[in-house]
Each structure stands twice: as structure tokens, then as C-alpha cells.
């Protein structure tokens, strides 16, 4: 049996290739693990997992009460805190399964939305600078308050937390069609706004419709390769078409909710007899008061995240309208990659209600799934995979049967730390290099630019090819950037 060289571990985590399953590796269930670990990765990607902690985190997640099947890691997985980034874990709600805020992450409902214009790259070219300037002026980002959508107080915020993207429509920001192409119709049901603290509300009040900083971005892109013409057409994508990708989440509000509920669960765990190997894996049974409180608050934050991306979509349409005379950009799809959802899946031949944590992993529903809107049911769910800044991004489609509870990768996956990236390239040089390659850059910080340099990430083309090879999702289209807006 083939074994992979594993990073330094004490004791080392041994990976074994799963026979007959390409790009799939297992970690044997030992010690306090309740299930094995399963990693989807090509040998090339595995060799790029340089931190021992990433594999250790796959093992740690496998100890969670009620976890079923396996502790999964997507092809772009890397070192996180508690869960690895790129981790998927499902717990059996009916058998003591837990929910862990760390399995969702601080940025609840961080995700991606893709908008498709009716312009070709050739048509946009003479006006690209104007579009980028309009986006630069119209997309709040970086430090401090300020968003596209100015809420007038707690009542407005309450509606955002309860209704998600639909609340933006009620404020005139978007169309009914936008909701159809948003995961969950734009609204996560079950939001309990009484479980959202005053501090979370205060942090969220002034940030609806803002990108933030770090790896969040907005890109103007062009479709440069089609892998599946039929599905691409069904998604409204064609070669040379100009698109806009938005990557952001629930801003300070989501982070505060995560912090509040991790703390509450750390206090509650002894009552449930739960011991975890890392305090950031703090958890409580889904059905417990603490579990329900988190699920309700998380849903509220997810709604905030969707309203945030919806408001930014309107800013994009306004920018295009002003610069090129048409703001007609249709939503291809909006999907989160940091969320826990209650879903039914077959486990050991039995249909069970599971709490599926996806931290840095994207839902990838297959064709025919009941949760898809009528317009997409025959095709499958679009899986939007942003690449690193300045490199390609991809659109995939969910497949049957898929794997890891219908999950796929969420990005290229970091390889270098921010500091290592900043040491390798100066922001000014990177900006010049991107612009020499025809990519317009509007960034508020050169250092921030350097930290997100493409060299800091794995090869997104390899990541999505691995997703396809491992049977998680299938490639539909590839997009390359024409312009980058960054916090």
C-alpha cells in the first residue's frame, strides 16, 4: 500500500492511500478518535502541506462527540485553529452529535458570489479603468465602519439578521431573481436574534455592504476556459464573458458571535462530559440550550453575510452602470464556505439528521437535490472557487454521489504565512507585476497586497482538478482576473 510522506509530527500522523480511490488518503482511527480521517489531495498538493498542525487538526476533529463517517479535509486544506481550514465534519444530531462554533469559524457564512455581465472582455477593455475606479470609490473596505447600506438602527439590523438577502431587497437593493440564485433562497431559517449579543450588534451595525480586509476581495474577471459547455450555458456563462466575483462574510458581527459562543461552550462542556483536544473545538450537543443558542445566532450571522454580499452586488451594478452604461449583472450563485447546516444524509444505510460543519469547504449539491431552486435542480449546484488574488478562479458543479456530505474545496488554500509571503515580494512590485499582466489593482494597502501574493497559495487549477478526480465536484468554467479590489 502506498504511503505519503507526512509532515513532522510527534507521534507522526500516518497517511495511507485509499485503494481504488484516486487522490484519497486515510488516517487510521486511533486513540480518542471516533472516526478515521480522510484527506482528498493529489500527491503534489499533499507535499505542499508543510505544517504538521494541519494533519493534527484533522485528527482532533475526529474526536468530536457524535461525528460520523470521517473527519474530512478538502484538497485546499491547511492549518487553521481547532478545525483545519478546509475541514468537513458531520455529527449525528440524534446520537449526541455536537455543534462547534470553531467548526464554522469566526467569519460565519464567509462565502462567494459570482455575477455575470452581458459584456465581453473586448467590449469592457476600453472602459476597464473607469469600472475599476468606480468600484474603488463604491466598495467600502479596509478598516473601520462604513458600508454600502446605511442601516438606521436596531430595527433595520433585526430585519437583516432575520431575513438575510431578502431584507436587502425590501430596502430596494436587488431583485427577486437574486434570491433564487442564493443558497437557501438568501435566508437561513431559524435565526434567533435574541442570541446575538449587544457587542455583536454594535460591530455589525455600520458594516453592511463592506468587504473587510485580509483575503477578502472583489474581482472583475473574464471566463477564459469552459470545461462543460452545457452546464456553463445553464449557469449563464460563456467564453470571454465579463464576471464579477465577491468574496466576504459577516464582518465583525459574525466574529463576535463566534467568540461569544465559543466562550459559552467552554463553560458548558463539563456539564455534558465533553473533553476536546483543543479549546477552539469547544462544542455542545446540537439539541442542548447552548447548541440551540449557537445555531440561532449562527443563522442570524449567516443572514447578515448574505445581506452583506447582496448589498455589495448593488454597488457593483451601480459602478458598471456609471462606467459602461449597463448595470445588468445576473447572479450566477452565492454560496457560503463557513457554515454548519442541519442536513439529512445516508449513514450506514440509514437516513439521519446530521449537523454538517464546513469550515473552508463549499456545499456542492448534486443534480436533483431538493434544496436546489427549480432553475438549477436538473443541473446541480454551482460551486464557486475563488483562486488567490491575480490567479484563476473556477466554477464547478455538484455531482452525484459526490463525497464528504456533498462538499468541495473553497479556494486555492494558503501555503505560506502572511509574513513569509510579505518577505518574498514587496507590495509595490506585486502591483506592478499584476498590472504588467493586464490586471488593474485597487488596493488600500501594499502590505496587504503582498500578503495575498499568488505564491502564498497552492495552485488552484491543481486543487479543482483534484476535486474532480476525487469525485467531489466537476469543473465547469475557469475565470481569470482583469481587475482586483482589495481591502
Amino acid at each position: 500500500m502506498k504511503t505519503a510522506p507526512s509532515p513532522r509530527l510527534s507521534p507522526p500522523v500516518k497517511l495511507q492511500a485509499v485503494p481504488g480511490m484516486p487522490d484519497r488518503w486515510s488516517i487510521e482511527q486511533t486513540g480518542t478518535m471516533r472516526v478515521p480521517g480522510v484527506i482528498f489531495a493529489s500527491e503534489a498538493l499533499l507535499a505542499q502541506v508543510v505544517e504538521e498542525q494541519a494533519l493534527r487538526q484533522v485528527v482532533n476533529v475526529a474526536t468530536l462527540p457524535g461525528i460520523v463517517e470521517a473527519s474530512y479535509a478538502m484538497p485546499d486544506f491547511h492549518w487553521g485553529y481547532g478545525f483545519p481550514i478546509g475541514g468537513v465534519a458531520a455529527t449525528d444530531v440524534g446520537h449526541g452529535g455536537v455543534v462547534s462554533p470553531g467548526g464554522v469559524g469566526f467569519d460565519i457564512s464567509c462565502g462567494v458570489r459570482l455575477l455575470a455581465s452581458k459584456l465581453s472582455a473586448e467590449e469592457l477593455a476600453p472602459k476597464l479603468g473607469q469600472v475599476m475606479d468606480a468600484l474603488d470609490a463604491g466598495v467600502p473596505r479596509g478598516l473601520g465602519r462604513g458600508g454600502v447600506w446605511h442601516l438606521h438602527g436596531q430595527d433595520d439590523l433585526e430585519r437583516v439578521l432575520r431575513d438575510g438577502a431578502r431584507s436587502a431587497l425590501a430596502a430596494g437593493l436587488g431583485t427577486e431573481r437574486d434570491l433564487t440564485y442564493c443558497e437557501d433562497g438568501g435566508t437561513v431559517v431559524g435565526a434567533d436574534t435574541t442570541k446575538v449579543s449587544e457587542r455583536a450588534r454594535a460591530r455589525g451595525l455600520g458594516q453592511v455592504g463592506s468587504l473587510g480586509s485580509g483575503n477578502h476581495f472583489l474581482e472583475v474577471q473574464v471566463v477564459d476556459q469552459i470545461f462543460d459547455p452545457i452546464v456553463a450555458q445553464a449557469f449563464g456563462l460563456s467564453l470571454s464573458q465579463v464576471c464579477v466575483m465577491i468574496h466576504c462574510g459577516s464582518r465583525g458581527l459574525g466574529h463576535q458571535i463566534c467568540s461569544d459562543h465559543v466562550r459559552a461552550m467552554l463553560s458548558a462542556m463539563p456539564r455534558y462530559g465533553i473533553v476536546v483536544p483543543d479549546p477552539q473545538l469547544a462544542c455542545a450537543p446540537v439539541g442542548s440550550p447552548e447548541g440551540q443558542a449557537y445555531m440561532g445566532a449562527m443563522a442570524a450571522a449567516a443572514n447578515y453575510g448574505r445581506a452583506n454580499r447582496q448589498a455589495l452586488s448593488v454597488a457593483v451594478r451601480r459602478a458598471f452602470q456609471g462606467a459602461v452604461g449597463t448595470g445588468d449583472l445576473a447572479l450566477v450563485y452565492d454560496v457560503s464556505h463557513n457554515l454548519a447546516k442541519l442536513e439529512h444524509h445516508q449513514v450506514d444505510g440509514e437516513r439521519r439528521l446530521l449537523c454538517v460543519h464546513r469550515k473552508g469547504a463549499t456545499l456542492a449539491l448534486p443534480p436533483g437535490h431538493r434544496d436546489l431552486p427549480d432553475e438549477l435542480r436538473a443541473i446541480g449546484q454551482p460551486v464557486i472557487v475563488p483562486g488567490s488574488m491575480g490567479t484563476a478562479s473556477h466554477v464547478l458543479v455538484g455531482v452525484d454521489p459526490g463525497g464528504a456530505f456533498s462538499s468541495a474545496c473553497h479556494g486555492a488554500g494558503r501555503m505560506l504565512s502572511r509574513h513569509a509571503a510579505a518577505r518574498q515580494v514587496r507590495g509595490e512590485d506585486l502591483r506592478r507585476r499584476l498590472e504588467a499582466a493586464g490586471i488593474a489593482v485597487r488596493a488600500s494597502s501594499n502590505r496587504g497586497l503582498a500578503e495575498e501574493a499568488p505564491a502564498a497559495y497552492k495552485d488552484v487549477d491543481e486543487v479543482v482538478a483534484t476535486c474532480e478526480g476525487a469525485g467531489l465536484a466537476r469543473r465547469v468554467a475557469r475565470l481569470r482576473p482583469l481587475g482586483v479590489v482589495k481591502g
Binding site: 473587510g212 483543543d278 494597502s445
Partner: protein, 148 residues
Amino acid sequence: MSDRSDSDQLPAAGHRLIPHTADCIIEAWGPGRASCLTEALCALVEEFAEAPDAAAPRLLPLAAEPGGNEDMLVTLFEEVIYTLDVLSVVPVRFHLTETAGGGVAGDMEVVPVDQVELIGPVPKGVSYHELSMAAHEGGWRCHVLVDV
């Protein structure tokens, strides 16, 4: 990276940023708990902002009630992060002392957001992963991972 340490002899108080793939790890140390916490807070700000040298005219209170050492560290970090998000000011210097009751209290000098240069991703949350704050070799030392 900011590193005031000397590899042969650590100064009495200092801090450094340790590489983490996606986020930021801060290590700080000092002769006392308050100085160690102050160093950690300085590192938190240096990670993302270049502050003006001049003293800031505005002060905001900053305190952590008596509790576990790690809890106090988290409390102070979360207060800075909250201040960034809600008040649109950036704390640039910190003054903390031990209180008689076992907590720490003091203030932070803050400047408006537009007076600092953004040089990195803004901190947004404090993780409990490998969090530590403890007495160490006659002084204090802490280790904290910050989500950015």
C-alpha cells in the same frame, strides 16, 4: 514581522509575530503580567497599522476584571477589536497596571482611523487554539492566535 527580541538575551519586555498560515500568532513577554499584556496589545496593533509617533490626545479606558490569565488577555484583545469596529479609532499606545483586586486597568491612546497607515489585515477575533498566558522564568509570557 516585528521582533524586539535579541536572540542571545531577551529584553525585559518585548513581543514578536510568529508565522501562521492564514492568521497571526503573537508572543509577548514582560517582567510583570501588566507589562506582558501591554506588549501583546502593542503587537496586535503593529500587525496591521503604522501609527503616528506623536502622543494621541484621546484616551479610552481599558481594563480586565480579575480572572484566569488567558481570559484577561482575551478580554483586552477583544476590547481593542471592538473599538476598531465600532468607534473607528485605532489604539496606538497602552498603559496598564495591576489593580488591587487582581485585574488590570488603565487606558489606551487612540487616533482616528484615517491617521494610521494600514499595513496588514485587521484583527477580528481571538482564538483559544494554543492560547497561553503564564508566569515564566521570573517574568510573564503569552502566546495567542488572532483571526485576521
